[in-house]
């Protein structure tokens, strides 16, 4: 299958030239998804996919090439927290096993309108809670670069699907790093846009004030195309930004400042390196890859300077108060009354609630519901929830101040590369506490989430393991609000100068 690892732009050319039909393309990916050994998907419906493909092929043939949507006929897999009418939506949870939504998520509808063909639903941590995809109630997803390792999470299945060539593009959601961290660990590109860019209508909510959907694909250009279709004001989401729709690809390949040149397209661009992000918390391999990537960026003309994000560490406790608080309330609707799992052992109302929820929520979800209920309780609200909101504002102020000195912030996504399934990240600060270690590994992604800022991850190198595997390292870019187009252009320049994003895992030895 010659297209499996092609970016969307190449697939576009292949479709436009008639080298392959929409249906053939969809069939290739469906075949790859069938019996794949990575646990990437939770649901496929080949008939429905092929029906969409035939419709798009028809449309493609009727539309002159210059009038086609760039996404027309291109396949996509949706994270299983996007509700879909054609595929069940479980959010990775037993409580929604076989749940069938009567409507599509707004982002799903918009991508469909732009001509994308849905391949199915991607695995994820239950209710998007987790950084490993091991918290999926159905199965863990495996990192195609080393199938004994986690792909990251919570959008693990999405990242795996793209990295393993099971889908050319995927949607993900990011609440505290759930697009960026699995993108980094699987060696793909993913962007969490400014909070409010993409409608949350139809996302199974985790933490409403932080949840944001975005694309995950092979290149910055692919992400730009998809984001252009996904973003836009939606009156059904009161937190949606009332901004005109944008072509996020409009700045790609262009010099980024007035001082820039063809050889030095980033000249005049200031990239801030937070001292807190380049500390001894990150592993030597990650540090090395980052340093090399920064050399590339400097070579392209960018200036790097140190900036200060003094509340970086505080973003962790703030996040683990606010997100569980909202989650504890958002997940109350899963009560076994109207839909979803209902305990058969229930004898009265109280036991209906307790048993249904205890039986069908996984341990991580239960932990966060308990944590969230606690911090909202009478007598604790001020000390935890209100305090966390104050910290959240301080964290956002850190970024505002940093952006007075730089155009974008660069740093790691995760302090370490993918760890082994069942294991936890090797972090000095959380020795002997695997749970805390998993939480701590999100410390570099939480800031942008708490501040509502656009942030992305792109491949910037590899760590070679003793076992002979190469593990991707991601570079994180964080931008000011609404600067997605510029950020994607920056990433695109980096990808024009490097080939990390073109690497594919060698999984000839992967067991199915």
């Amino acid at each position: 299958m010659e297209f499996r690892f092609s970016p969307l732009s190449e697939l576009r050319r292949a479709l436009d030239s008639g080298m392959v039909s929409v249906e053939e393309l969809a069939q290739d990916y469906l075949a790859a998804l069938k019996n794949e050994p990575f646990g990437a998907s939770l649901a496929v419906a080949p008939e429905l996919t092929l029906k969409q493909a035939r419709y798009c092929q028809n449309l493609l043939e009727k539309t002159p090439p210059d009038q086609r949507s760039p996404l027309l006929g291109l396949p996509v897999i949706h994270k299983d927290v996007f509700v879909t009418t054609g595929w069940p939506t479980t959010a990775g949870s037993k409580i929604l096993e076989n749940y069938q939504s009567p409507f599509n998520a707004q982002a799903v509808d918009q991508l469909e309108s732009a001509g994308m063909v849905c391949l199915g639903k991607a695995n994820c941590d239950e209710f998007a809670m987790g950084s490993t995809n091991e918290h999926s109630a159905y199965k863990p997803a495996r990192n195609p670069w080393d199938t004994r390792r986690i792909p990251g999470g919570s959008s693990g299945g999405s990242a795996v699907a793209v990295a393993a060539g099971l889908a050319p593009a995927a949607t993900g959601t990011d609440t505290g790093g759930s697009i960026r961290q699995p993108a980094a660990m699987c060696g793909i590109t993913g962007i969490k846009p400014t909070y409010g860019r993409v409608s949350r209508w139809g996302l199974v909510a985790y933490a409403s004030s932080l949840d944001q959907a975005g694309p995950m694909a092979r290149t910055a250009q692919d992400c730009a195309w998809m984001l252009s279709a996904m973003a836009g004001f939606d009156p059904k989401d009161s937190t949606s930004l009332n901004e005109p729709s944008e072509d996020f690809a409009r700045l790609l390949g262009k010099p980024m400042t007035d001082a820039a040149s063809t050889e030095q397209p980033l000249r005049g661009l200031r990239l801030g390196m937070p001292s807190q992000y380049f500390s001894n918390q990150i592993s030597p391999a990650v540090a090395k890859a980052l340093e090399a990537a920064l050399q590339v960026l400097r070579g392209l003309g960018a200036e790097t300077l140190e900036v200060d994000l003094p509340r970086t560490e505080l973003s962790l406790p703030a996040y683990y108060v606010i997100a569980p608080a909202e989650a504890s309330s958002n997940l109350s609707r899963f009560d076994g009354v109207r839909y979803g799992h209902r305990s058969e052992k229930a004898t009265d109302l109280e036991s209906l609630y307790c048993l249904s929820r205890t039986e069908a929520f996984g341990p991580e979800v239960r932990r966060r519901i308990l944590l969230g209920s606690y911090v909202l309780s009478h007598g604790y609200y001020d000390a935890y929830y209100l305090q966390a909101q104050k910290v959240r504002r301080l964290v956002a102020m850190d970024f505002d101040r940093a952006f007075e000195h730089c155009d974008f912030i660069v740093g790691p996504v995760s302090p370490v590369t993918a760890w082994r399934l069942g294991d936890s990240p090797a972090l000095e600060a959380a020795k002997d506490n695997p749970l805390l270690a998993e939480y701590l590994s999100d410390v570099f992604t939480l800031g942008a989430s708490l501040s509502g800022l656009p942030a992305m991850s792109m491949p910037c190198g590899f760590e070679s393991t003793a076992g002979g595997h190469r593990l991707p390292v991601g570079l994180q870019l964080i931008g000011p609000r609404f600067e997605e187009a510029k950020m994607l252009a920056l990433a695109d320049h980096f990808q024009l100068a490097t080939n990390f994003h073109e690497q594919t895992p060698d999984f000839s030895g992967a067991q199915s």
């Binding site: 996007f82 509700v83 939506t89 959010a91 929604l96 749940y99 939504s101 009567p102 409507f103 998520a105 949350r200 209508w201 139809g202 996302l203 199974v204 909510a205 933490a207 409403s208 004030s209 009156p235 059904k236 989401d237 009161s238 937190t239 608080a325 909202e326 504890s328 309330s329 997940l331 109350s332 609707r333 009560d335 009354v337 109207r338 839909y339 109302l349 609630y353 209920s373 909202l376 309780s377 009478h378 609200y381 929830y385």
Partner: protein
């Protein structure tokens, strides 16, 4: 013996008269088949989000302006978290720390005519829950309840008073006045049976003169003014008896049982929910700008108290008559239309006449026709005006006018003049005819004549009655009195 003082504060849930729900596009009409008016948002399906109903927000602003409260430029929707099957999300969207209206007051008259002003604490927007149906459902196993989510998400304005009322009567009068105001402002249909207007009463007692409040009990969900009064009376008496017999009032939530005329404990403070209120992250801060408030202000009808003043100043109505006429916008409009259709008479006289008829015959007939408002009265303002026209110009007596009113109520297609002619009801002014009846009555009642001559005025009235009877009500009573007097005194 201690004299006790009752302290009452009310929380009233007013269902707002909007076409769609507070946060979903589903219709709010009452009485539809269960669960047919529930949008995915009301069912709390995964992925749905609330969108505030701007019409409901306008209603809140209208109310705020009407009671002179402060419209919050920034207010916050909060989640009130608890589990119940008729609460699909597991939380109710309400307002907690920053309500849309703060303060304000409502003035009204008690039955003895004295005026009271009740200070309001706040009014906030929220959504209603669904309904649990525990009995009478066909096809349901015993011990099973049904859930109807048609009402879930219906917009409510919860209006909270300060604990300033001192009797059950005062509380009921406040509730009636509030009911009058919200229907006047057209923000609530006021239908008590359908639950569009429900009160929770916070009741406590304390020794008269004491500054400190006693422990309060909250009586939930009362949807009748009579029940409200009885519930508060019962509850206050219960608390006083409890304290006087050495007991202590426990803070609790109670329910009023109108069949047994008592309140019963529902849950104590210890079992009270911890609602874990927090700002709803799905809804940004509700911002209300000057422009919106101005627009609402422009669209406001005249307020009841302004209308009342105008009636007293412009038409010279008494306070009591003004209260009656300004009891609702329908009543006021009925009054205005009737007066306008009676141009000939002197305005204050006309006004007094119309007000009297509204207070007497019209009210009686409306009360008899269950649920009928002034707007639906078969005797329209024009019809009443033509009747009063004939009464005023002496064509008919007031007795005949009342009879005609009853006939017109039954058959409003008739005309006043038509009925007068066809039934020969024209008032007899002819002195010759009247003198004949007078002579007959005097000769038939020598005893009454003696009594009259002995100074008993009652006897004269009796004889006037007799003459009126002979004339079948058509004689002009003052002409009859005149004729009788001149005959007897001669």
């Amino acid at each position: 013996m201690t004299t006790w003082e009752i302290v009452v504060g009310l929380e009233t849930h007013v269902q707002l008269k909007t076409r769609s729900k507070m946060f979903s596009p589903a219709p709010t009409a009452f009485g539809a088949k269960p669960n047919t008016q529930a949008h995915p948002i009301d069912l709390a399906l995964p992925g749905v989000l609330p969108s505030p109903n701007l019409g409901a927000i306008d209603c809140a602003i209208r109310f705020g302006l009407a009671v002179g409260g402060e419209i919050a430029r920034r207010s916050v929707f909060a989640r009130k978290n608890y589990f119940y099957p008729d609460l699909p999300k597991g939380y109710q969207i309400s307002q907690f720390e920053l309500p849309v209206v703060a303060g304000g007051s409502l003035s009204f008259c008690l039955s003895d005519g004295s005026e009271r002003t009740v200070q309001l604490t706040r009014a906030h927007l929220e959504e209603d829950a669904g309904k649990s149906v525990h009995e009478g459902l066909a096809g349901l196993a015993p011990q099973t309840s049904g859930i109807d989510l048609n009402r879930a998400g219906t917009p409510l304005l919860e209006i909270v008073t300060e604990p300033v009322m001192r009797s059950a009567q005062e509380a009921a009068a406040y509730a009636r006045a509030l009911h009058g105001l919200v229907t006047w402002m057209d923000i609530c249909d006021g239908n008590l049976q359908e639950g569009s207007f429900r009160c929770d009463a916070n009741v406590s007692v304390r020794p008269k003169g004491s500054e400190a409040f006693g422990t309060r009990c909250e009586i939930k969900n009362i949807n009748s003014f009579r029940f409200l009064e009885r519930a508060i009376e019962y509850e206050a008496a219960r608390q006083i008896e409890l304290i006087e017999s050495g007991g202590q009032v426990r803070q609790e939530t109670r329910l009023f049982d109108p069949d047994r005329d008592e309140t019963r404990s529902m849950r104590s403070k210890e079992d009270a929910h911890d609602y874990r209120y927090f700002p709803d992250p799905d809804l940004p801060t509700l911002l209300i700008d000057e422009k919106t408030i101005d627009q609402v202000r422009q669209s406001m009808p005249i307020l009841p108290k302004q209308a009342r003043l105008k009636l007293m100043e412009q038409f010279g109505l008494s306070a009591q008559d003004a209260d009656l006429v300004a009891a609702s916008r329908e009543a006021l409009s009925f009054f205005q239309k009737t007066v306008e259709a009676l141009p000939g008479l002197e305005p204050t006289k006309t006004a007094k006449l119309v007000a009297n008829w509204m207070a007497a015959d019209l009210s009686t007939f409306l009360n008899r026709s269950e649920g009928l408002g002034y707007g639906e009265a078969p005797v329209t303002p024009l019809l009443l005006a033509s009747l009063l026209q004939r009464l005023g110009d002496g064509t008919i007596s007031s007795k005949i006018a009342r009879e005609l009113f009853a006939q017109l109520w039954q058959d409003p297609k008739q005309t006043v003049d038509g009925l007068i002619e066809s039934q020969g009801l024209r008032q007899v002014q002819d002195t010759g005819q009247i003198d004949g009846w007078v002579a007959e009555v005097i000769s038939a009642n020598p005893k009454m004549v003696d009594e009259y001559k002995a100074g008993k005025d009652k006897a004269l009235n009796a004889m006037v009655g007799q003459v009126m009877k002979k004339s079948q009500g058509k004689a002009n009573p003052s002409a009859v009195t005149q004729a009788l007097k001149s005959k007897l005194d001669a």
